[in-house]
Symmetry: C2
Subunit: 451 residues, 2 copies
Amino acid sequence: MNCESPLLTDLYQLNMMQAYLDRGETQTAVFEFFARTLPARRGFLLAAGLEQALDYLESLRFSASDLDWLKSTGRFKANLLDYLRGFRFDGDVHAMAEGTAFFAGEPILRVTAPLPAGQFVETRLINILHYQSLIAAKAARCVLAAPGKVLVDFGFRRAHGAEAGLLAARASYIAGFAGTATVLAGQKFGLPLYGTMAHSFIESFDDEILAFESFARSRPDNLVLLLDTYDTEAAAHKVVALAPKLKAAGIAIRAVRLDSGDLVALAKSVRKILDAGGLAEVTIFASGGLDEDALAEFARHNAPIDGFGIGTSLTTSADVPAVDCVYKLQEYAGLARRKRSVQKATWPGRKQVWRRYGADGRMRGDVLAREGHDKDGEALLHPVMQNGQRVRPPEALDAIKRRARGALERLPEPLRRLHPDATYPVEIAPELVALAAEVDRRQQSHGASAG
Amino acid sequence: MNCESPLLTDLYQLNMMQAYLDRGETQTAVFEFFARTLPARRGFLLAAGLEQALDYLESLRFSASDLDWLKSTGRFKANLLDYLRGFRFDGDVHAMAEGTAFFAGEPILRVTAPLPAGQFVETRLINILHYQSLIAAKAARCVLAAPGKVLVDFGFRRAHGAEAGLLAARASYIAGFAGTATVLAGQKFGLPLYGTMAHSFIESFDDEILAFESFARSRPDNLVLLLDTYDTEAAAHKVVALAPKLKAAGIAIRAVRLDSGDLVALAKSVRKILDAGGLAEVTIFASGGLDEDALAEFARHNAPIDGFGIGTSLTTSADVPAVDCVYKLQEYAGLARRKRSVQKATWPGRKQVWRRYGADGRMRGDVLAREGHDKDGEALLHPVMQNGQRVRPPEALDAIKRRARGALERLPEPLRRLHPDATYPVEIAPELVALAAEVDRRQQSHGASAG
């Protein structure tokens, strides 16, 4: 499945482009990407996906076969096909750094480009930024719910397609996961890889202890044995029985994995069995339908589990599989714009987000302001692309991961909870309110005169 | 983003493959893919994704650079790397045809292959089959909730990555959608494309009626005008005012689109405005956060809406973003196998699903049986691949779509409801129950002896 084509867009983008070109509407437009609202169980989102968004903008090209196919549809005129033949994204981009916490109404990316180009890239930019920011936030909730634990992305198989699985591995690593089971994500992003064995491995042997020994001899490094194929506690005793033989062969058991049953109770009994068998250094890893709520439960019960594989709930963000993120026209031909649709009105114009911190280092509140009207605090949007070229090389993932850790540490305490019982204060600067009123007056007068 | 790599797999598949090769465990294994349970709001699932699964199996190859990278990780021995160098999937596949309704416990795909190969493909096969079957079922719910309406996939932007957006377009078309807004899905799968304009188009003009006219002159075919940027009813009056001028230019307005507000009330008032203005033939299309429940509400209120764009709720299957689908070892080296983990026990051995129909043509119940123990009814699993080669060319999408329509028509009435208040009867054949007991006895005796 080709995930690089310029045709990864909505038909209406090409329709609009045709109309813009016909009328010569190619002046500078400004679009911003932001979340309109946050869902009930999300006190914050975590910006992620910027590098893939910039990759997309830098490499956007229509091939001869793309153009032939577009022509063959009979939908488009020669002026549009000519325009697309030489099309390059040559606009400017401002963005929040990946790993930054953000809130409803705050742009994390701004595109400044000729109207047809700025409009065209909407569909894929939303597709990239929405998913990674969604997953980074979900992963951050897991991280907050399991302090000090090793968390690993196990969710490729039920992610929504290949790209989702890969990008979820990246986004969860940014948010604080230790790594992923997805091999291609290891290759592509340099992520640490984790993996053990499946139940089918055990079942393919007639004898569970023989399966353990066989696996140990083939994969002696970072050896993890899966205990719950038949009877978890019986399997733990087998591990104890097998350990001396493996030790004699120079093989140390690193961990055991539990994947079903009452994990709190099983972890406690397995811990006892291992400790009594002289395997206190063997850690316990758990998986199987886990999410941040399960992690919080384990913490409450002091379950002796050292690490967790988080699968489907992570890669599908199962409780909140989408956030209402949009990419909206904020200015065209020097004039601020906004949509006034019921419950969908947006703040017009080019904006900047200013973040203030308290004496304790915690985030205290943001101001959403017009660009050029500076406020106290840290400005969060920075230039990342000029004339279609990145202004700096891609950021190292570990630098992004450190930023995200800092962001989580500095979140106000109520927002760090799984059920956030506060809304982060985002103040709208008076100049922005005034601009919105001005835009409404202008648009209203035009709307009325034409009605 | 490369969505074709053989490294789209979990690390544990390679770990197990190493162990299998080391021990010479390369006899024939049988794996089946099935849903363990159905979520509360799903009375059925709809098989989809088989063609992409077969594409994956047929094209699976490790390139020199894949092998170099695997070697560079230091995790794998020469025998595994040698094996992967010449690796081809050379197994057999049996499957339910796409567009077939299926239920918990029923395999929709069976792989018969040497153990390392059959195991290795698990991750990506689940990834492909789970997502498309999930989306086909979600789309089918929309189709059942909106009889006679035109439904269009608008959901690429908030789909989880590019591949999800593309495959959702395909799966929803199979389930009865008329088409998609995603251009690449039109190119790749030959799907009908739909698209209008965005609010930003209207906002980029100072004057709404001028925006309408400009768009109409550029996109005169299948012209759809978006009404809710500022004031929906005022915009409807503008459409009426503009229509004669467009008609004189040979341009007919095909439809108007509503994307926000109280859609039932707005559709009724817009319908009146259009009818009074002599535009009875202009249809009304609605979009904006819709799902099957909204469609059912519109039907209850007789909202005069002719077609719907369904976005995020479709492509993320928002109420049920994942189903508990698995791919399990059922037989190895001639012996049936099964996992007995708590609440995760499965029926062992190679299976066939037999479907019976009543005199009214409706589905009456299925029997899950051992292969070779024929039952009354229609056998649903058929050979689709032998020795790694498809046994027939890919099926035309419209043939799959017809099959799906038939499947929905023949569902028992209670399962066609959005809140299914019945469970479809799936009987376990006595031979299968006996086989499970036999497997348990065999596995238990081995487990005990080794404990």
